[in-house]
Symmetry: C2
Subunit: 247 residues, 2 copies
DNA sequence: CTTGACCACTGGTCTGGACCTGCGTACTGT
DNA sequence: ACAGTACGCAGGTCCAGACCAGTGGTCAAG
């Protein structure tokens, strides 16, 4: 037994102590949008290696307290963007709707994992529609909707509007939509996703997977990928809790 | 005019290429629970610095493909644990219920941000109940329930059971629970949370915040923190949306 | 006034070390 | 047979430095 009577406060890692100091500095001496000193100056000021400082900055970024852009600098972030995830999929409140049409078409190149969830063969033809969501001119997420051609022969042009997957499905299937199953997990952005989200590859993202059930099978799959640093998912029938007085 | 006719594949970062190679290796040559070679050997084998290898490993861990334990090694992970987030908060399917009682009591030390959401003064007395959830003997999450003493004078002993926040609230308020608002976002584990979750400080976590409305105010706040690497949040399991509205 | 080349500055990537600390096992004394 | 210790190995932390790659401004040429 290595039990010693001394207090031995277990010595937090240096990067965590640094994070705490930076949080206080951010909350007391800086305001939203203000640029912090560069990493080399900060590491010198705190007497740590730049790698250690970056470990603290990365956590602050993941928390949504900082935004970092190569070539530009590190700025104090504002509150996170609320992404409303409704049971009835009515639209995108607070987000400029469907700003960019990225991909519309039918493909056989569906990741095997998704093909299994859709209940189709690995190389079956599947309609794919991808949109990017922006908020205040900044990319916040990518939504990709998969519909097997076995379910819907052709994708009508109404996909170009600003509605979400369920609404599209409702049109396509003449109100046969029966239910949905949804999951949320953390993933990392692949290079192409990272480029669309204006982040480096491997950035943490929130992945919302929604399976739409119609006619006793999974008729469509919506995979939405949001920047973990800037987004918060809001659930519930009521409006999001007012975060105005939360300083 | 930087446009050249060459393909110029834009050179993925080395850590991402490494990640891709490791994913293939994991899926083809390893099985769940199997231990990978140590980091020094792996970095030598792939001809990269250990820091670069670790950058790839950290992403694989965040994706839930690997589990790393100091002193033990890096093992291939199994599928993520499904955390059921129901609208009616009926319990914890698939998770050993309420394995450890951590804190039961009344405190004035509530983070200012939570006090604001609860609609109480920063130093008001608030009941706090904290539980840790395990799955297969592994810690997966921490749930903390806050109830202002202004809402409920005393916390009855039935908090010791395995039920979730809403059920408790229903008992406390005699079925006056009116609704809830829920949000999901990414955060980092503070040292104490990290210790309970058996992870280093600053580890990415999924934070599920649920505000319970009763009597026209926020009567309680449940903050659940799950390991982002091992958990997946599941919503609306087999819950058919009864709305068959004819559009 | 507009355009484009240039360039200082920023965060991003990568190296090759060093040492710390938890874990598990082998050994060893009782 | 058992408990305690010692030790090797694993991942975790930290360092000092180098170079890469976008950003955004300056400034001269058209």
């Amino acid at each position: 037994m290595a039990t010693t009577a001394t207090v031995e406060v277990a010595a937090e890692p240096k990067y965590w102590h640094l994070r705490t100091v930076l949080v206080q500095a951010i909350e007391s001496e800086f305001t939203t949008g203000q640029t912090l000193p560069n990493e080399r100056d900060l590491s010198a000021r705190f007497g740590v290696a730049r790698a250690t400082l970056r470990q603290a900055l990365e956590q602050l970024e993941l928390e949504g307290r900082l935004h970092r852009r190569r070539g530009a600098g590190t700025v104090v972030a504002g509150p996170r963007v609320d992404i409303t995830i409704g049971t009835h999929d009515e639209g995108w409140p607070g987000v400029e709707p469907g700003d960019r049409d990225l991909v519309d078409g039918t493909t056989a190149a569906v990741p095997g994992r998704l093909a299994a969830q859709l209940g189709v063969r690995p190389r079956a033809m599947v309609h794919r529609v991808r949109r990017r969501q922006l908020s205040m001119r900044q990319p916040v997420g990518i939504e990709c909707l998969y519909v097997p051609r076995a379910v819907v022969p052709r994708v009508p042009e109404l996909l170009g509007d600003n509605r979400r997957a369920a609404l599209v499905l409702r049109h396509l299937r003449n109100n046969t939509l029966e239910g949905l199953t949804r999951s949320v997990e953390v993933g990392v952005a692949e290079p192409e996703e990272a480029r669309l989200l204006e982040r480096p590859p491997g950035t943490a993202v929130l992945v919302v997977t929604t399976a739409y059930t119609a006619g006793g099978r999974t008729a469509a799959l919506a995979v939405a990928t949001y920047r973990a640093d800037t987004c918060r998912l809001a659930f519930g029938e009521d409006a999001p809790i007012g975060a105005r007085s939360a300083s």
